[in-house]
Symmetry: C2
Subunit: 363 residues, 2 copies
Amino acid sequence: MRKSTLRDVSRATGLSIFTVSKALNGGEGVSELSREQVLKAARELGYIPNRAAQELRKASRDSIAVVTASTSNSYYLDLMAGIQQMLQPSDWTVVVGDVAVNGAYDPALEDRMIRRLIESRTAGVISTLRLSFDNTQLLERWGVPLVFVDSSPPEDKPSLPSVTTDNYNASLMVGEHLAGHGYKRWLFLVYPSKWTSRFDRERGIRDAARFHGAHVDVIESENDPASASAAFADYLAAQGRLPDVLITGNTPLLLGAMTLVRQRAIRIPDDMALIGFDEFAWAPLIDPPVTVLNERSEEIGRVAARTLAAIIASQTEAEARGQPANPQYLPQYRQQVPAALVVRRSCGCGGGPHPFVAKETSR
Amino acid sequence: MRKSTLRDVSRATGLSIFTVSKALNGGEGVSELSREQVLKAARELGYIPNRAAQELRKASRDSIAVVTASTSNSYYLDLMAGIQQMLQPSDWTVVVGDVAVNGAYDPALEDRMIRRLIESRTAGVISTLRLSFDNTQLLERWGVPLVFVDSSPPEDKPSLPSVTTDNYNASLMVGEHLAGHGYKRWLFLVYPSKWTSRFDRERGIRDAARFHGAHVDVIESENDPASASAAFADYLAAQGRLPDVLITGNTPLLLGAMTLVRQRAIRIPDDMALIGFDEFAWAPLIDPPVTVLNERSEEIGRVAARTLAAIIASQTEAEARGQPANPQYLPQYRQQVPAALVVRRSCGCGGGPHPFVAKETSR
DNA sequence: GGTTTCCTCCTAAACGTTTAGGTTTTACCG
DNA sequence: CGGTAAAACCTAAACGTTTAGGAGGAAACC
C-alpha cells in the first residue's frame, strides 16, 4: 500500500484533480454524486494531503510558536495551557521551541530557532524571553508578529507588545509582607537578566527594603537548581550567617535553595524564613508549606494569545486590502496581569492546617 | 522590506536560480567569486528559504514527533530530555503532540494528531500511550515508523517496538519492600489502562501481595490530581479505615492523594505508609520525603530515540536500494529498562536526614 | 430555434525549491 | 591555433497542491 496523492484519487474516480480537490475541501460546484465518489476513493486509498504542497500553494500560515528556555520551570506548563485554551478553537497549531540545551540558554540556538520559524512561515511568535535585537529585526522584516510574555522587548524596540505580571507591585507586596514580619536582612536569589522580569522584581524588592528600612543582598544564579544551590552556598560561606529571609526568584531556584536548606538542616522559618516567586503544585506539601507569589501564568498565556491573534487578524485584513502587511503594534498591547500572594508557613506566618490567604496587587 | 525568494537573490546577482541554490547549499561547481556574491546578496536581502517548497521538492522527512497526553506529568520532561539528547546531534527536529485537552485524553484529538503528522510527512513517531488500531494502521500504511515508550502496542500489532520500564519486576520489588515492613492491607491507586504500563504494574503488585500474603485493593482514577483525590476519598468513605500503605501509580495521582492526606491530617507513615511510582524533583522535600520507584525516563527516552533512528536509517537505506520502504521491526526492538527503588521516609523506613538507598531491578 | 443562465467540470498556471541533463566558458596541452 | 577536458553555469522539469478562467452541456426563457 503506497502513499497516495490527489492524482491517484483523480485516476481512481475518473474526475480531474481540480474536482477532487474541490470535493475534499467542501467547495461549491461539485455534484453530490461526484463528491461521494471522491470521498469514498480517498478513504479507500488512505489519501492524506501533503501539507508542504498546501502550504506552498496557499502561502498558508497556520501555526504559532512559543519560544522558551528551561522548560523545566513549571510556570511554563500553565502558560502553555492558557495559550492553547485561547488558540485551540480557532485551530491554530501551537508549536513550542526550546532554545535551551540541557537546561542552559544558548544564543546560537535562539538564532537557529528564529530562522526555522521563518523558514516554516510561522504566523506569529510568543516569546518567554527577550530576543536578540537581530532576531526581532528579522521577524519584523518578515512581517511575523511578536508578543513577549513575562519578559520585555529589547530596548531598541520598546513598542513591541508584552504581557507580564505586574512584577514591580508584586515585589513591593512581597517586601511589605516581609517587613510585617520584622525581617531586616533579606537575601534575593535571582536568575539572569535574559529573563527580563528580573528587573522589575529586583527593583520592587529593593524599593520595599529601602522603604521599610531593611537591607537586601541580591545574588544571581543560572536558571537551574544546581547553580542556585551553589550560589546560595557561596553566599553563606562569605557571610558566615543566615539572612532573616530568603526570597527565591522562581521555582527552579527555590528547588536548589531548598535542597541546600535540607542538607544543612536549616529550620524554616525558625532559622530563616522563605518566600518564593511563582506558585506550583507541590508548594503546599513541602515541609514547611511555601509562601509564594502566584503570578497567574495561565491568565498571562490567555492574554498573550488573544493579543497575538488580534494582531494577526488585523494584519491579514490589511493584506486583503492590499496594504503593507507589517504587523501594527498598538500601545494598549502592553499589558500587565495582577499577581496574588499565597501565604503559607515558610514566611513565618504560623497557622492552622491551611493558612491560605490571597491578596491581589492593585492594578 | 519584503519577503525575498531565491528568484530575488538570482536577480540581484545576475546568476541563475540554480547557481544561487547550489551556492547557498554549499554544493560543488560554483566559483568562489559567485558564491561570495550570492551569500552577500542573500544576507542583504534577508533571504530565508521557504521550507514548504524545500520539503515538497525533496520529499524531506526531517522531523520526529512525540505523542503524549497529560504533559503535566513531570516524567515526560525527563523523557523529552533523553530523546532530545539522542536526536539533537543528527539534527532532527523533535516536535511534541499533546492529545489531551485540559489534561484529559481525547480520542478525537489522537486521530487529528496522527493525521497532522502524516500530512507533514513526519519521519517517525514516539508515542507515550497506546494508539488506536486504526491509527497504527494508518502510520504503517504511510510507512511511518512507530516506537512506543512506557506503553505497549495494540494487541493486534504485537511486533511494534516498545521501550518500557521493567514494570513487572519493579512492582515486585515495591511489593517486597512493603512486605518487609509487614504491611498487610495495600491500596493501589492507578491510572486508566490507556497508559499500558498499568498492566504490568498492577500484575506485579498483585503477585507480590499474593506471594507475601497481603491483601491489595486496586482503584482506578483518571490521570489527574483532582480525580485521584476524589477516588481516594471515595475509597476511604466506603472502607471506613485507612489501608496500611497507599501505592500511587504515578506523580499526578500522588499529588492528588497527598492533597487529601493533608486535608484529613493523615500522618505519614504513622497512620498510613506511602510509596509512589516515578521519581520527581520535589520528592525529597515533601513532608515526609516520599519513597519512590525511579523509572529512569531519561534513559527510556534515549533508548527509544536510538531505536527509532535505527529503524529510519535502515528504512532510508532500503529505499535507496529501491526496495519496499516499509519499516522493519526487529524483535530486539522491544526493550526494557531497569528501575530503581529510592527509599525515603514515607514508606516507614526511619532514617537520618538522608535515608537514600537505591536498589535495581535485576534484568 | 436561438439566446441566456446555470451547473459541473476541466485545462493550465502558479507557489519556491531541487536536480537531471545540457551548454557555454575557461584552462590547459600539444 | 586546434582540440579537449574540466569547471561554471543554465534550462527545464519536477514535487503536490490550489485557483483563475473557461469549456461544455442541459435547462429555461424568449
